[in-house]
Every structure is written in structure tokens, then in C-alpha cells.
Symmetry: D2
Subunit: 313 residues, 4 copies
């Protein structure tokens, strides 16, 4: 379970929550221009959250130096296949490095995705490919890529949001049910004597508030569609994290058979500045790392202890 | 619009969001034992968010050295009256200092509240009393105090949550509509072939997600009722802010005729340690101030700039 | 559980569903001018659904010859009291005959209600007073009367709807949450690319559909607020039953500890013509009885077998 | 907009609402064994609601003498094609007569449907094929047939419900969101002090109540899943119409650009007895016609005036 959003108040921002019932101690990882990921050459520098194993980064999400951003989100409807002739066969864990390593725009990425077949090859013997779908975006456009029965389906993502199941087209259909919700005060369509605007926020009454994937999709789309424009610098980053917080899962609010399912980290990528911001659930202050074109793979440990500004003790 | 909650994972925590369509640049203010607030003597030291004017703190919320906590939240149904004989007549802005300055428990506070008449006296000529109701709590119990037509109504608050209108009793009735929602996976009551648990979180499908007062009440009650116990120290504070974030209002998501209505700050009071944590919407890291028994009124400016831990630039 | 509504497409109509988990075999009962109900003289003729015991009708609802209509609906918050001096003390079962027997308008009825104290006197030793509240209406106005802790509360009922708990004021507050719902196509406030009107009816998405009292209140208010005007004769009666059907409870859809809770009958009173229409759940065709000023108490058995118009067998 | 359901309390029943913003004056039409529909021979006798033009019935729904039932419901996602070689090419209006005329079971019908290509051929020059999908069922099983981009898709329909858009698979996904709703009293998962079962029906709080296609789907599935078993004869028919009434659209509650969208008729087919019951919105009593194996095409006019059982006038 995760929620990814895009945001363009002036510059382009992209980020996600990573929600899970197990802990992932991801680092912020940068790979330089020309980095060789197994036999895939990554022409562009990449930065993202990843686990590094045997010198190979297993990216959860990331951004390249051209401002193309990508995040993989859990997707139970995903199907991967054997190698297919005439297609570019990639393991699921190779997809993000391949796309971000070689595409200069989201549009170019979708062209590449159209000829890719995702295989069942494993990152490690005990690590079968996670079922995922992807949000790929730059400041010009956003796309969802879903590899299902019948192969790769690529959809223009006009709302800049992705969560988990069901497939994206089904989310968009569901979103239409809420198109009348507004951040403005509601119109009174019941007649003056029957209703009263007794508190703020009633224009969006009916917005779903639970932690399920379809509800987070609609809530994120609503918050994002109504977000202020014109913000820049730290104000934009603060706003980005405030929007993600509206769909973040607090510990305890969602449990699975395996345990507590909650938001482990939230990240925000500033595509114009090449900065990756991340806040794990144990530290509200964000750790920031800048993309770097040289220097080999570098993993930066995220600050995990709560950062408190004590004034008198 | 605001949301206040209590939380007792081990120690007792109390806090709130302050949501508004105008900016309040509150400081963290401490008043010592014996502080004289106009002609009210405050026997106990107090700490809280306040604006200070003419040496007088106008508290939005606060905690005393006995661990009694209190927050005022906007409440359009509030009615204040002329002075009444046989009652303790207090201006609305005197209520919090009086209660926190003189009560050693929430139970004692409710006894005091029962003999108080809130008057229409103003803090300043241009500051009429804000319509408020209050959440008063310590680790033993919580109460809601509402001064309406017919006088002060005090209710035991068994869910540890308060938002804004309608009156508390109406919120509790509304909450009953959602009593079947769970953080656990849902039971399938439609029959095996008709439904499938295709994503996590479906047990709470139907939880309201908008920013209105009744919806925040239910969402806060749900998140709090399912919060983990046993947490302590920074982990408890992080969890507290994560829960408040689930009801915080991102900028843009709720607008009134006057402008954008959003969460200006969130605070968390650690009653056992006497520490007041606050994060304004411009800074995710919390500022912390410890209650102090001596030293006169002291106002600590909250850190407002985003606090970023930059690792490589 | 029951739902009562008023409807004025041209003439005035009033009716209700009677929902219960036990069967009530009510007749349509008329009482003439001057009927003596125990020691209450009923100046006006009355018609309504009632059980007759010892020559006394126990009315569930009814209408008088002046066009004043009244229905009692289950209300768990009701409180009845001992006799009070200076008030008109009436048993709960005497209230409807007294009001309909003596008031020429709903406005006059509310004046009467203001001086009435409802007592705990029983209709029969084994029949304690049912906890009820009442909708009283004529073509000019409608009122809700609720006898609670603190005595009789009378509210103008501007939406022409009553169901069960909670108190009417709480229903009206809840109704405000839905004031943006419309029978018209929805406005698209999410942006052209994010949503599509893929089916009719989306303007009211969010309307509650369950059988609980607050949900039936809102659904009935919505259907009624959007009902066509100008209908007369059988077309108005058909429309009335169609609206009640939208809040009727099908057998099986709502169960209590005692059994299946469902709509036992629906009725529609035509105030201009003095006709009472009733359809028990076993017969879709309506039985009709006309109010009569003379002739003593008469009980008409309702046709209960399904009425089928067989064309070729 | 329409809703179709199946019901098997003991015998098998099938029916639907026909919701539209224009009036359809359908008759109940029977065609005998061996009826020739253009060049399609119908081996089985059929009964259903239809408009007859030039001796040809345009069926909206129907049943054959083997107990196979079928209804076409509006479906904006439908796509019809040119003739295709190797397939059985049928005009949309030929589909129902072909299937009911030649299949002895729903299972056999799905086998037939798998080799059918629906063409764009018109019933009349001014009558382009309506975009439809179909519910086909007998007492053993039910299926949905949808002809979309990519051809005919046939799904087992395990809930016995069909409405309109989106595609059936999307409805089933949406239904899963409501799997925790119950006709029984709700479990209190908020803690004893936080909630109270103050009225019946709260176990299903959250069930959608608007007139849109996805909301009617879920409401119908809920009512049907909780329907009593064991009913027979008129009691079963009454229950069937009571369930359809819960999803019927009252006039005024749903408007389109063309006008008022409401339920024009409801029907119930008794497969065991071969009887077709229909109630237009102007007459609550049902007209009944029995299927007939001989006698050529016969059209029975439905009784349209309100049928009132007047007892004293």
C-alpha cells in the first residue's frame, strides 16, 4: 500500500508514501552517469530510496537528472511473464534503473515501456519480484504502467495520483463518483430552511477517509486538485508533505494478517533542484540528498531519530 | 476548526491541531506558580500556545504542572452571558488560566466548571470573545465543556476527541453510525463469491475523509481507538503527530469566504515530562519547551522555517 | 422504525411507512364527529390506521376532517412523566385522538401540544406506552413534537420528514452534511480530464442507502425535495408511494434481536379528499377508505392478499 | 439505467426495473414455439416486455419455457461491430430472441454467446442499436455478457445483480468495499463507551443510497444477499417487488439533460410457473401473463391505471 502524487505549483515535485506491514530500512542512493546495473547501462544519474545488495540498488522510487520521476507501488493484479522474443525483457527490479537511466522525459519513458516485457527473474533467490505498478512523470506529463494479463497497459495519468489495486482505469471510474466535491463552501441544493453551513469543509462531505487503496486515491486526487499554486522552495516541500500526510497511514489504523500496516516513509523529489527529501515515520524532519552525476553509487543513511528543537532544556 | 485528542500509550499525551483561515503567530508561553492573570491567581505553573498582549497570555491550549490539559476549539453554538449572581463569572479568555492555574485534576476542573458563568467580557476592545468549547483532560479522565443556551454543559468524553460543531452529544451519536469499522481486515458478510479482500484497509471502508468537523471527529476517534499502546518517549510523540496528521487540513483542501482554512500548528503535550511540542505548518520538526515553575511569564518563539537535514549539499 | 413524509404537489398528502419486527394487523378506522374517546371528546371526524380494543382505537397515524394529519414514530429518547398540575395530562395513546379530534390546523395543534404533559398511563395492563415522537402537519405547515427529559419540544419541520432517533434537531444538523447533493447531473469540480459522467444519478452520489433512521431521514428528504409538483389524483398517490418505497425496508434487509424488521404497511392520506390509502406489505394495490362524519366507529379490514390482474390464465 | 436481479427463495425468479428518461409503452408479448423472428427460428416459447413493430417484438427482457431468463440493460461501454467471419453475426435486437428461443439453460446460453458477434444492424432506420449488456440466468447459474472493445466478455455473475456502467468486473470490485455491511445489528468495535446502537439498521450504515449505477448495484446485492428463503407463490412475488423497490428510481430523484429519469416498470418472472408479472409506475398492482406455447405472437396491454380497492366510496 502506497500513495504517489505529482505536484507542480511552479517547479515539479513527485513523491510517495511507502506503506507496509514490514520495515524497509531504505537509504537514499545516488548512482552516477554511466552506472552499470548488471548489464544495463544507466546514462543518466539517478537518486532514490533503495536497498543496496551486492552493489546493486533495489529502488523503490527515484528521479533522474533530467527530471523524470518514477515510483513502484504494490499491485496485486500485476502479472509477469517468461522472456518474449522481439521485446526488451527486463526483470521487475531492472525496470526503474532502465527507465530512469535512459529516458529524458516521461513521454520517452512510455515509448520504452511499450516495448518492454517484465519477466519473473529474481533480484535474489529469496526475493521473488514484487507485484507492482508504476507512476512515471515529469513536469510535462504523467503515466501509469501496469503489467497485467494481456501485457503492459500504459495510461495517461491526468490526476497525478497512484495508489494500489484495482487497476488505474477502475480508480479513474471511481473518481468520477466524487466529481462534485469541492474545497469551497457547499451550494445548498436542499432549500434554505432545510440545511445550514454549520462548519467549514462541508463542500467535500462524502470524501472517503479510510486507508484502503481506492479511498486513498480519491482523497489524494482531491487534496492535490485543490492545492495552491505558486509555492516554491521549502514552502512547496512543506505543502507536498502536508498533502501526503492526508493519505499517510498512522500506525494502528490498518492491520493485516502479518501485522501493522503503516507509512514507513514519505518522500518528495524536487525535479528542478535534483533534491530528494525523505522523512521516515520516526523523524518528522526531512533528510535531503542532492543528485550527483559522478562518484559511483553512494548510499546515504536517512536520519531516523526524532529531531526536536529544544528551547529551554 | 480544530481537532484535539488525548493519548495514553503509557504516559499521558494531549494535543490538537489549530485550523484557521487567518494566521496566528502563537508563541509557547510559560507562566510560573503564583502568576497573577488580571485578578486571577494561578497557583500552578502553566505552559501552552498563546499570544501575549500587555503581559497577559491569550492561551489557545495548555497544560499545568499537575498534568491537567485543556484546549479551546471553535464552536459556533457557544453562548456567553452577562454576569450572574452566585456563580463564578469569568471572561472566556480567563477560563483556561483559571482552570489550569487552580485545578489539580480534570475531575476537579469539571467541578469548578460547574459553577462558572462565562461572560461576554473582551480581552481587548477589538477582540470579542471567540465562540469555543473545551476539552479538559488528565491521565484519569476527559471532559467536554460547552456553554450554550441553557448554560454550561459538561459531558464525560469517553473517546478523547473534540472537534467543532455540532455539540459533543451530537458527535457521539454520529460516531455510533461507524461502530462497525475496524482496523483489522473486514469480515466478508456478502458470501465468498461476491467479494474479495483485494487491498488492505477495507475493514474501515466508509470512514469519512473530508475536513468538516463531524468527519474529523469520527476519523480522529477511529485512529485513536486503534492506536498502539506501550509507546514512550519520542516514539509516542511521533505517533501522536501521525494521528493528528490524519485529521490535519492541508492548505487548499478547505476554503471559506475569508480564505484558505488549514492547519496552522499541531501540538503535543507530554504531561508526565511537562514538555510542550509544537510544529507550525511551515516546519515539520517540533519545537519543544519544558514547563517551568519559576521565572515569570516567558514566551518562546516557535521555530518556523523548515528544518532540513542536508547530507551532501 | 418508520418514515413519515408530507407532499404538496397541488393538494396536501401525508403518509408513512410502519416498520416493525412484529406484525401489526391494523385496520382503517373512522371515528365520527363527537366521538367520545374515554373522557376525550373528539369534535372532528378522524380516519387512520388503528387497532381497536374495547371500542377504543389505538391510532398509529391519522387525519381529521380539517386536513390535519399526524403520525407517531418510534423514538427511543422519549420520556413520559407523572401527572403535572397546570398542564393537560394525556396518556400517550390519547394524544393523537385529542389533537386530531380538536384541532383545525397544525398551528393550532402545536399550541395545544405546548400545554400537554404526556403521562405513563397504559392503554391496557400489558401495553406500556410506546416511546414515540410525532409529525403533525397540514397543507400550511409541519411540526415535530418530542417529549424528552425537560419536557415537550416542538420544532417547525421545514423538510416534511420524520424517522426515528436521534432527536429531530440532530437529524436536521445531519441533513446539512448532504446539502450539495442534487437530482441533476453533477458539476465536475475535479477538472475535465479527471472525471466523466459515465451514468445518470451521480449528482447525488453519497446519499445514504441503509435502513437506519438517520439514513432514511436524509434519503426521504432528498427524494421529497426533488419530487415533481403539479401532480393530482391517482398520479399524486402513485408518486407518494414511490417516494415512500425509496425508504421502505424490504424483509431481510434489517434484523434485530427479535426478528426481521421491515415495512408492514405504507399509507397515504389525501387531505383534500379525505381519503386514506394503505398498502400492507403483502398487497401492492392500495385499499382506500373515505373519512365519514357520522356512523360511529367503523373498522375496515385492509385487503391483504396480493392483487394480481391476470390477463390470460 | 435499470437494475436486474435474480431470486431463488425456492423457485426461481428473475426481474428488473426499467429506468428511463423517455416513456416506453411496452406490452407483455408471448411468442410461440417455432416463432420465426426474421430468419431466426425460436424453438422455445418466449414471454417478455416488448414493443412490437411490423410483427417483430423488440424485447427488453424475457423468459423462455425452459426457465432461461434474460434482460438487456443500458451500458455505455458497449461496442458492436461489422460482421465477422466464423462467428454467428446477430443484430443487437436479435440477441434476446435467439438466446431465449434456442437455449435450454443459462450455461448453454453462455456457450452460444461465446460464438456470437453483435453487429450494428438496426431494428428500424431510425433505431440504432441501444448500447446494452445482459444478465442471463436460470435457477442453476447467472452470467453477464458484455460486448466491448475486444469482443464479447462473459462473466459468471455470482451475486445475481446487474445495473449499468461501469463493466461488471468493476462493479464486483466495488462491491468488495462493502463486504462488512450486515442486516444484523452491528458489532461495536469502538469500545463500549464510545458508541451505542440507538436505532435498528446500523449494521449496514455506509450502504450507498443514490440512484447511480454503482450504488444501485451494491444496494441490490445487499438486499438480495439478505433476502429470506423459503417464500413461495404471491409472497415470493411481493418480496421480489419489495427488493426491486429498494433500487427503483422515484420520479424527480434523478434528472438528465433530456428530462426525468425514473422507473417506468418493474417486472418479475416466475420461471417455475411461466408467469410474467409487470407493474408500470402508474399502477402498483401487477399485471400477470402466462407463457403460451402456441397461438402466434400475442401482445397483452399492461394495466396502467392505478388499481385502488375502495371500501366505502
Amino acid at each position: 500500500m502506497c500513495t504517489a502524487i505529482t505536484y507542480s505549483p511552479k517547479n515539479f515535485y513527485f513523491g510517495r508514501t511507502l506503506d507496509a506491514d514490514t520495515n524497509y530500512s531504505a537509504d537514499v542512493v545516488t548512482t552516477p552517469r554511466g552506472f552499470l546495473f548488471e548489464n544495463i547501462e544507466c546514462r543518466h544519474a539517478i537518486i532514490g530510496a533503495a536497498i543496496v545488495s551486492g552493489g546493486r540498488p533495489l529502488f523503490f522510487d527515484g528521479m533522474n537528472e533530467c527530471g523524470v520521476c518514477m515510483a513502484g507501488l504494490n499491485f496485486g493484479s500485476a502479472r509477469y511473464f517468461s522472456e518474449r522474443e522481439g521485446m526488451l525483457n527486463l526483470a521487475q527490479y531492472e525496470l526503474l534503473p532502465y527507465i530512469l537511466g535512459n529516458c529524458t522525459s516521461a513521454a520517452e519513458a512510455t515509448a520504452e515501456l511499450g516495448r518492454i516485457n517484465i519477466t519473473t527473474k529474481r533480484f535474489a533467490p529469496d526475493m521473488p519480484p514484487a507485484p507492482l505498478h508504476w507512476l512515471v512523470a515529469d513536469r510535462e506529463s504523467a503515466f501509469t504502467a501496469e503489467c497485467m494479463e494481456g501485457g503492459m497497459r500504459i495510461c495517461k495519468n491526468t490526476v497525478g495520483v497512484l495508489t494500489n489495486d484495482p487497476p488505474f482505469a477502475c480508480h479513474m471510474r471511481g473518481l468520477s463518483n466524487y466529481m462534485h466535491l469541492t474545497a469551497a463552501p457547499p451550494q445548498n441544493l436542499f432549500g434554505a430552511e432545510g440545511a445550514e453551513e454549520y462548519c467549514a469543509g462541508l463542500g467535500a462531505f462524502g470524501l472517503p477517509g479510510d486507508m484502503s487503496s481506492p479511498s486513498r486515491f480519491i482523497r489524494a486526487a482531491f487534496v492535490r486538485a485543490n492545492a495552491p499554486s505558486g509555492l516554491a522552495g521549502n514552502a512547496a516541500v512543506s505543502q507536498f508533505f502536508a498533502m501526503l500526510s492526508a493519505v499517510a497511514v498512522p500506525c494502528g489504523a490498518c492491520n493485516t494478517a502479518r501485522g501493522r500496516f503503516f507509512t514507513r516513509y514519505m518522500c518528495c523529489m524536487d525535479a528542478a533542484e535534483g533534491v530528494y527529501y525523505i522523512t521516515p515515520h520516526t523523524c518528522r524532519a526531512a533528510t535531503a540528498v542532492k543528485i550527483s552525476r559522478g562518484d559511483g553509487l553512494t548510499a546515504y543513511a536517512v536520519h531516523r531519530g526524532e529531531c526536536i528543537l529544544k528551547l529551554n532544556f
